[in-house]
């Protein structure tokens, strides 16, 4: 077992680093920006990724990508995260839509969508979750009714990142209400004309998610991906890509969260308090375990394995360390964190509040533990 970059990996890492250093030269620290400014830089950043030919880094060459593997993508994401690069505004397009269309799309669908994603002209969002179906995704109720030449869709979606910028949606809808819940679902590459998008304000004031209301929205047959009634299988592909891409740079955020709380304590003269030292010891263990676990997961994937249920352990560890580090930073603040006009206090509180979502989004903490119980420990299903 070896944790080093190979020679070629190292060369690639250096290439990526040089490009990032140059491309990020005029990009301000995102943590200090308003949400609209962050969104502006996300768009700029997406354009630069596309122009720099990074958007399809791990897509096959035949589809316009660079044909590199998940490790290369991980190296790119790590190096970008370490430098505090903006989130690219079409992450859903690059990381979920493109790979899913490559895996399940027709030639026509691939030709229609992939170039626009690589060029950065076609933005995507993911319409899976619904107000009534959170952890229980397959209970979704958005209904697609057969009409001439396509489907008429009614329902509501929620937690849609970037819906207000997207023109296309990875949409799950129920096309057969009488089939078992996993069988009656179809996956659409839906145009978003006719979607009503409403921003959801988060508790930290950001509006990174949206609700979407579909009221007799027409989607043509040509936009069915993977066949009518096969939506659940196709969705599992997307979810696997989502988990995979999540693991690529989660650890960077964990490390940065620990860095920040340590820096704050040093600045406040609290870093020699042994209770604090012990806490940092525990946070460090967890944050490093996320990093190493991510490397091992990537290694297994690259060796041809499928990321196992241990991914859930990483997610759970990551959420815990980020939540705990960010809470501690708020509590170490001069006024217990509650005077938001204090030096850096608003940003610390924003991060603490944002982190509360980490045990909810991308599979709740409860779901992760269920997965570990069922698939690692072979305990019976508890839900």
């Amino acid at each position: 077992m070896d944790f080093d970059d190979s020679g070629s990996d190292l060369a690639f890492r250096q290439e990526v680093g040089s490009w990032l250093d140059e491309a990020l030269r005029d990009v301000p620290d995102q943590e200090e920006l308003s949400q609209s400014d962050r969104e502006h830089w996300s768009r700029v950043w997406q354009d630069r990724l596309c122009a720099g030919n990074w958007a399809g880094l791990s897509w096959p060459v035949a589809h316009g990508g660079r044909g590199m593997d998940a490790l290369a993508q991980a190296i790119f994401n790590e190096e970008a995260a370490v430098r505090g690069a903006p989130y690219p505004l079409n992450g859903v397009g690059m990381m979920l839509a493109g790979p899913t269309i490559i895996a399940h799309g027709t030639d026509e669908q691939q030709a229609r969508h992939l170039p626009g994603i690589l060029r950065g002209t076609e933005y995507w969002c993911q319409g899976f979750s619904e107000p009534g179906s959170g952890s229980d995704l397959a209970s979704l109720r958005t209904a697609a009714t057969r009409v001439d030449g396509g489907w008429r869709i009614n329902g509501a979606k929620i937690w849609t990142s970037n819906a207000h910028n997207a023109s296309r949606c990875l949409l799950l809808a129920r096309t057969d209400p009488d089939a078992p819940k996993h069988r009656g679902i179809t996956y659409f590459l839906a145009p978003m004309d006719g979607f009503t998008v409403r921003p959801l304000e988060m508790i930290n004031g950001d509006t990174e998610f949206n609700e979407m209301f579909l009221d007799d929205v027409f989607v043509p047959d040509a936009d069915v991906l993977g066949g009518v009634g096969n939506g659940w299988t196709v969705a599992l592909t997307t979810l696997a890509f989502e988990r995979g891409s999540m693991a690529l740079n989660l650890w960077v955020w964990a490390r940065q969260a620990v860095d920040r709380v340590v820096d704050l304590a040093v600045a406040r003269g609290l870093a020699d308090d042994s209770a604090f030292v012990d806490t940092v010891g525990a946070l460090q263990c967890d944050a490093e375990a996320v990093r190493i676990g991510s490397m091992r997961m990537l290694g297994e994937s690259r060796a041809g394995g499928v990321p196992g249920p241990e991914t859930s352990a990483l997610k759970s560890l990551w959420a815990g360390v980020v939540q705990n580090a960010n809470r501690l930073a708020v509590q170490l603040d001069e006024a217990g964190g509650v005077l938001l006009d204090g030096d850096g206090a608003a940003a610390r509180m924003r991060r603490y509040l944002r982190a509360r979502a980490h045990t909810i989004e991308g599979g709740t903490e409860e779901v992760q533990k269920s997965i570990l119980a069922e698939r690692v420990l072979s305990l019976p299903r508890s839900r």
Binding site: S129, G132, S133, G134, S135, D136, S139, I158, W159, L200, E201, M202, I203, G205, F209, V330, Q331, E334, A335, G336, G337, V338, L339, L340, D341, G342, A346, M349, L353, R356, A357, T359, I360, E361, T364, E365, E366, K369, S370, S382, R383
Partner: protein, 343 residues
């Protein structure tokens, strides 16, 4: 009867609960609009001002627990009233057993609204421990909405008109916070147990906040369905809420006992107050975080209510000595007590 609420205490709880239930202003209002006095503000200040005030300070023999019962009921619904702050200010002023002159009548009957100032910028504990007094205070609630400030300093307590006031951006906009600069006081009275009494008012509100967050979380757990069942039937959801119940009960019991110990001049009053404030802050933050979690995605939106409990919990945990400081003081005093015991 020993260790039970008196009928009067039950009546106080019922009366305040009714007032709170009938209140149309909420902590949410202040998210979009400047703080305004809720309808119950006047009745609370007018009719409940003698709760917990010793006779030596102009009271009628009401116990501190009487007051805490009222404040806890307000905390449950996050009522954005000045009453808890005013009551804490009054308590701050009447901690000296040897006091002979009553507090001003206009304070006791709520015509003159006070607010307490017991935290010094950059220090985690009570202002009476910072000497020389820098004459600045922070985390002062409702400063612009009060008619005077009850100040704690190393020399004692006094009522002040602040020389300067700077509104701060409060994490809980329904509790406006300010920094104050003060002139040197002309006359102070001994603080006695004032800081302890005032701090227990905050602890009681925290216990209420914890209970309110638990109630909201339980309601969600009883109604939200996933996988064909209400989520409260999953132990993975239910057990953390049971832990919140346990933490909140511990905090409330500690708070009640500490109030009794302070009122009765018990030797363990000091450690009990620190334990109560530490436990109450922890219980409230934990309950609010769990309330968010139980609400799933909705829990992290502004439109759902869990974050309102989190805001209040943090603001109160920070005030009147931070929770982490109270916890450490609890440990220090416990260890100190054992050092003096023959091994």
């Amino acid at each position: 009867m020993r260790a039970t609420f008196t009928p009067e205490q039950r009546e106080i709880a019922d009366a305040v609960t009714s007032l709170a239930a009938g209140e149309s202003s909420s902590a949410r209002d202040a998210l979009s609009d400047p703080w305004r006095a809720p309808g119950c503000d006047g009745p609370l200040l007018r009719d409940f001002g003698l709760l917990g005030v010793p006779e030596s300070a102009g009271g009628i023999g009401s116990s501190l627990i009487d007051l805490l019962v009222a404040v806890e009921a307000l905390g449950r619904r996050l009522v954005p009233s000045r009453f808890p702050a005013h009551a804490a200010a009054v308590q701050l002023l009447c901690g000296d057993d040897a006091r002979t002159d009553p507090l001003p009548g206009e304070v006791l009957d709520g015509r003159r609204v006070l607010t307490p100032a017991v935290d010094v910028p950059g220090t985690p504990g009570w202002a009476d421990r910072v000497s020389p007094d820098p004459l600045v205070r922070t985390l002062v609630p409702y400063a612009a909405q009060a008619d005077g400030v009850a100040v704690l300093g190393p020399a004692g307590v006094w009522i002040a008109d602040p020389a300067g006031s700077t509104a701060r951006q409060s994490f809980d906009p329904s509790v406006p916070l300010a920094d104050l600069t003060l002139s040197p006081p002309e006359r102070v009275v001994p603080a006695g147990a004032g800081a302890r009494r005032a701090t227990l008012v905050v602890a009681a509100e925290l216990c209420g906040v914890a209970q309110g967050a638990i109630d909201l979380a339980a309601e969600q757990a009883r109604t939200r369905q996933q996988f064909g069942r209400v989520i409260g039937s999953f132990q993975g959801v239910a057990f953390p809420l049971a832990e919140a119940v346990t933490a909140r009960k511990a905090a409330w019991d500690l708070t009640l006992y500490a109030a009794w110990a302070v009122d009765n001049g018990r030797p363990d009053a000091e450690i009990q107050v620190h334990a109560a404030k530490a436990a109450a802050g922890r219980a409230a933050v934990f309950a609010a975080e769990r309330c968010i979690q139980v609400h799933g995605g909705m829990g992290i939106t502004m439109e759902a209510d869990p974050h309102l409990f989190l805001r209040r919990a943090f603001v109160l945990d920070a005030r009147s000595g931070r929770g982490s400081w109270h916890r450490r003081r609890t440990g220090e005093l416990r260890i100190q007590a054992r050092r003096t015991v023959p091994a």
